[in-house]
């Protein structure tokens, strides 16, 4: 088994080209929207851009979370998905660059409510909020974003570096132990930082409203989108050499089980927030659901409940479906799409009561997702598709007849 035998097939190159094409089309469509929307275009652009940004951020960070999870727990599914996960985490530097437009141009279009909040009288923020929600300063919004990305990028760097070293030093058991030791604190760090990031970037759209489980909602959403992506990518790779026959039904079965668990956890977190706010029935808290559960947004909420929870939940209960290389990726891709709908439902009602997505939304997502997938595919090509130095590799790819 040499590194050359396990390089990515041509289909990954095609994915890269198509993604790049989609990205360019998306950027052009964004440009067209500028003329379409007239002087409103900047607001509309950043409202759409934020959703697309949170989506691609989730693909990279969810993969970082899963990467650390599989180092911690072991398991054959982790060895099969490790290289795609690492490739997805290595898109994070690009995602960090994609955050720059929000910091440089977008803040007044997105966070006007706390940027322009009066310091006293009607609509004033609490003292804590006034000291936290500031754009500049060493602990301000912009500086915090820098710290978040630095911490995440540091995690991405060490896990990718050690994994690469492991490929060359098959006998070195210390590397395996080191990755395991780092994964536990790493997961805590990722969830902790993501909570702050979710508060800063999305929750602060409506600064008077607060929810402590908000960060977890984003973390679990990111894990769903990343796990779905891994299923789709593994099935795509399994169609041709070198991964043909290596990816087996039992691997898909494990990934499907985890996806089911994540879908249930997502519903659990989402409902926890609803139940507490609904029971409390306080004016400043209930506003979140007043805007999101009535009218057009109410329809979207029901669609999210049915198609992000009930349909995947009942489908993934089936053992046959989880082991099917034909059906499981369909559910996975569907869930990736529903992640977008959920992000749309979380962010957009702060700006408008119109629940119909516009051309700008499609264009922004096409642009950012296109760029993300192009870099992802490029990363996938740069290394063997299996971690060749992992001591458990042979066991993981062993063919089970039964």
């Amino acid at each position: 088994m040499t590194a050359q035998d396990y390089m990515a097939p041509e289909s990954v190159g095609r994915l890269q080209q198509r993604a790049l094409g989609a990205g360019i089309v998306g950027l052009v469509a964004c440009g067209i929207c500028v003329f379409l929307y007239g002087d409103q275009y900047a607001d509309r652009f950043f409202h759409s851009y934020l959703i697309a940004f949170m989506f691609v951020l989730g693909l990279s960070l969810g993969s970082l979370g899963l990467l650390m999870l599989q180092h911690l727990t072991g398991g054959h599914w982790g060895i099969m998905t490790r290289r795609p996960l690492e490739s997805a985490t290595r898109v994070l530097p690009v995602v960090a660059i994609l955050f720059l437009p929000i910091v440089i141009f977008g803040m007044k279009h997105l966070y006007g409510e706390w940027l322009n909040a009066p310091s006293s009288g009607e609509g004033r923020l609490s003292d804590l909020q006034q000291s936290y929600l500031v754009p500049n300063g060493i602990l301000g919004f912009k500086a915090r974003a820098l710290y978040y990305f630095l911490i995440w990028l540091a995690l991405v760097y060490v896990f990718n570096r050690w994994s690469k070293e492991q490929d060359l030093n098959r006998e070195d058991r210390a590397l395996r132990r080191r990755m395991k030791m780092m994964a536990g604190p790493g997961i805590i760090l990722y969830v902790f930082i993501m909570t702050f990031a979710a508060i800063d970037w999305v929750m602060s759209l409506s600064p008077h409203w607060a929810s402590t489980i908000y960060g977890f909602l984003f973390v679990i959403g990111q894990l769903i989108s990343s796990m779905s992506l891994m299923i789709a990518v593994l099935v795509l790779l399994s169609r041709t050499a070198p991964m043909e026959g290596v990816v087996q039904n039992r691997h898909l079965h494990d990934l499907g089980k985890l996806l089911l668990a994540f879908v249930m956890l997502w519903a659990y977190f989402g409902f926890s927030q609803l139940l507490i706010i609904w029971s409390g029935n306080l004016p400043e808290e209930i506003s979140f659901y007043r805007t999101r559960l009535y009218g057009g947004w109410g329809v979207v909420a029901v669609l999210v409940l049915i198609f992000h929870f009930f349909v995947p939940f009942f489908a993934l209960l089936s053992r046959d479906l989880k082991r099917s290389a034909r059906l499981l990726p369909k559910i996975a891709i569907w869930l990736i799409f529903m992640r977008l709908v959920d992000l749309f439902w979380l962010t957009r009602p702060e700006f408008t009561s119109n629940a119909v997505p516009g051309l700008m939304d499609v264009a922004a997502i096409l642009a950012l997702a296109g760029i993300w997938f192009a870099v992802f595919a490029r990363n996938l090509k740069s290394q063997p598709l299996l971690p060749l130095g992992d001591p458990k590799l042979e066991e993981a790819i062993e063919v089970h007849e039964y």
Partner: protein, 181 residues
Amino acid sequence: MIAHRSHIYGVIGEFEKPEQLVHAATKIREAGYRYYECYTPFPVEGMPEAMAMRRNDVPLITLFGGLLGGLGGFGFQYWANVYSYPINVAGRPLNSWPAFIPVTFEMTILFASLFAVFGMLALNGLPQPHHPIFNAHRFTHASTDRFFVCIQARDKKFHLAETARFLQGLAAHHVSEVHDD
């Protein structure tokens, strides 16, 4: 063997290696037998396929238990709050369904797991204080170093002498009848 008149449970054969048993199980199934059971000291790979075991009904029973628990849990709260003892709590509707969900959720899991455990026991015919297979005199080896197959008398194709010969033809050792009491 003591020759008293009793019903025959089946005919048992013994093998030294797991592969031999897998092979024998395949042949027995191909010969048309349906009621036979294999006994091994550890799980033998390929055995379920050799015996063409169908999937059991535990998942279905579990699903039914979950649905029963969930609907029952929700239904009971609905009945208690709307019909049996309606109280106005801070002006909320009597059917305050979000508050019912945690109990519904717990009841779903409770009933699903109880149905899974007891359904599994029932499908296995447990509890069963004694089993005729223990009458086979070398059967203690099934938990240490031998691999057994027993073709049961309730099988339509079962014929004491022929089935015993058939097992001997599969190179089984110590082929003997197993009594029912």
